[in-house]
């Protein structure tokens, strides 16, 4: 195999690629081969759990409980996905997750964090920087520490059993997203907002007319991350959302898993569990694939000058 054949398999071939491959000596080739061997091995082991989940979802019980394991399901029961979803009221749990939890917290986070982040990013005012440092400091307070008194308070005002304890705080900003947006806002040229200010525009006008339209990528990151956090959240609902009719998908899956070990379980418990898990993980994976660049940039924004 020559050098050009290898590069043309992947990215578009460039001049420097040609030079790179032709200049590799014997030792260089050994290192290249070793590198790809390690990468492929790692990639396989990273994907293996998901492959196992997906293929197990297509199996029937005899195929699940077999040694050696069956890597390719045959026959594949595609109807497991539908049957698993309807074996429990997953339509309801889906609506709970999205409508009662993920969408409200996403709106709350985007609105509150963008206003607060702007206050910390652009206008100059006495006390801004110490307050911002304090805001970053709150990221160090473990959630477990505030959990007990907050639960007592929310219980007293009758919010336990609803999504309010998880949704309402989202409207008061979140240090991580405030930090992320502030970093982004500061990359927008100050001349734009200064010119508007000279023309007599108020801070609200500058924020809504100038900054926010330019900050769409960063706002998308906040919305995506917050939505995903809620979609994936297990601990929050575990504490606050204890009625079955209110459950999000995470609690319903956990409940299905808990019943695997009950005596006299029904057939197809494992395939159904894997099918539902696949269906819940799939939108997240698709969203990530479609918005990979946005994801990566968002994470990078918070990490670099941390």
């Amino acid at each position: 195999m020559n050098a050009t054949a290898k590069t043309s398999a992947g990215l578009t071939k460039t001049r420097s690629d040609d030079r790179y491959w032709s200049q590799l000596g014997f030792g260089g080739w050994v290192i290249e081969i070793l590198k790809y061997a390690i990468l492929l091995l790692l990639a396989v082991s990273y994907l293996l759990p998901f492959y196992w989940m997906f293929t197990s979802a297509l199996k029937d019980d005899p195929q699940v409980f077999t040694v050696p394991p069956r890597w390719i399901p045959n026959p594949a029961h595609w109807n497991n996905f539908f049957d698993a979803w309807t074996s429990q009221n997953f339509n309801l749990y889906f609506v709970n997750t999205v409508v009662k939890y993920a969408v409200p917290v996403t709106i709350g986070a985007v609105v509150s964090c963008s206003v607060v982040a702007y206050g910390f990013a652009r206008p100059r005012w006495p006390g801004r920087d110490p307050l911002f440092a304090l805001c970053l400091g709150t990221m160090m307070v473990p959630g477990q520490v505030t959990m007990v008194p907050l639960f007592i308070t929310f219980r007293r005002i009758g919010w336990v059993g609803t999504y309010l304890p998880l949704v309402v705080p989202a409207f008061f900003g979140d240090a991580y997203f405030i930090f992320l947006l502030r970093q982004f806002f500061r990359t927008i040229p100050a001349e734009l907002s200064d010119a508007a200010r000279i023309d007599g525009a108020s801070e609200w006008v500058i924020l809504s007319q100038i900054i926010l339209p330019l900050a769409k990528p960063a706002l998308t990151v906040v919305a995506l991350f917050r939505f995903m956090n809620a979609w994936n959240d297990y601990f929050g609902p575990l504490i606050y959302v204890n009625k079955r009719a209110q459950w999000p998908m995470a609690l319903a899956i956990e409940n299905m898993r808990g019943r695997l070990y009950e005596v006299g379980t029904k057939p197809l418990q494992y395939p159904y569990l894997m099918a539902v898990s696949t269906l819940v993980a799939l939108p997240i994976l698709i969203a990530f694939f479609l918005a990979q660049r946005t994801f990566i940039e968002g994470i990078t924004l918070t990490g670099i000058k941390g």
């Binding site: 607060v116 910390f120 005012w125 709150t138 990566i296």
Partner: protein, 304 residues
Amino acid sequence: MTPAVRRPRLSRGDRREMRIGLTLVSPWLLGFLLWTCYPLAASVYYSLTRYDLMTPPVFIGLANYREVFTSADVALVAKNTLWWVAFSAPLGVISAFLLASLLNTRIVGRSVFRAIFFFPSIVPAVVTAMVWQFLLNPQYGAINATLSALGFSTIPFLSSPTYVKPTLVLIHMWAQGSAMVIFLATLQDVPRSLYDAAMIDGANAVQRFWHVTVPMCSPVVLFNLVMGFISGFQYFTMPWLLTQGGPNRATEFYALYLYRNAFLFLRMGKAAALAWLLFIVVVAFTAILFKTSGRWVYYGGETD
């Protein structure tokens, strides 16, 4: 540009600016008082009481703290948690750093590999816990079923007190997507000229890695390490879903114990005391890490 001169008293313009600024950040400020300051203060009070949610809190002084400090349960839980933090945080950082370094070399299809290594960290924890539990099942999990089909003895990953913690560390190292992405961005920011200079001086690849790459990334190593420690002390979801603290309480970590006391035994006072101690430990740990970081973190490349 406004001059950065400090005036002894705030002028009228300053006060106006301050009013606007405070209005903009008021949601966070209010949230800070409601969801951070109040609970922190209230948990001091609750930690001095006996409170089961049914009857009003009864003041009992330092009895909760006395119990926590003398209890064998807490000693066990603290030992487990310190073990977890000591291994999971550094190994998580190392795993993320090595993956990022590998991705930072000349690779065909880098974004595909990046996506694959990132996946585990965005899939719902409930789902990953479930898949691992099935995969590691002693009889028909894919790994052990393969081992026994090949004639090897099976490994009780999650059912042996010896293997369970290392297994959790491996799962933790597998889900390091965001730390990896942060490292990758940092690696791409290291100026090429530094590598060229090192090469002219005759440094080989290993030396370039140790004397250029590692120091240039050390501030981000610190950032990820601090994040790893803080979340390590609160590690809950995976052990709760995978092992419920077992086998033989080998994975009964601090957060699990706190959760049991608060929501299963309804011992809110004791839970508040546990929470406050956790807070002190986390703050002390972070402070020590930052204090000692001057010795190994290199800030020379920082501009802006």
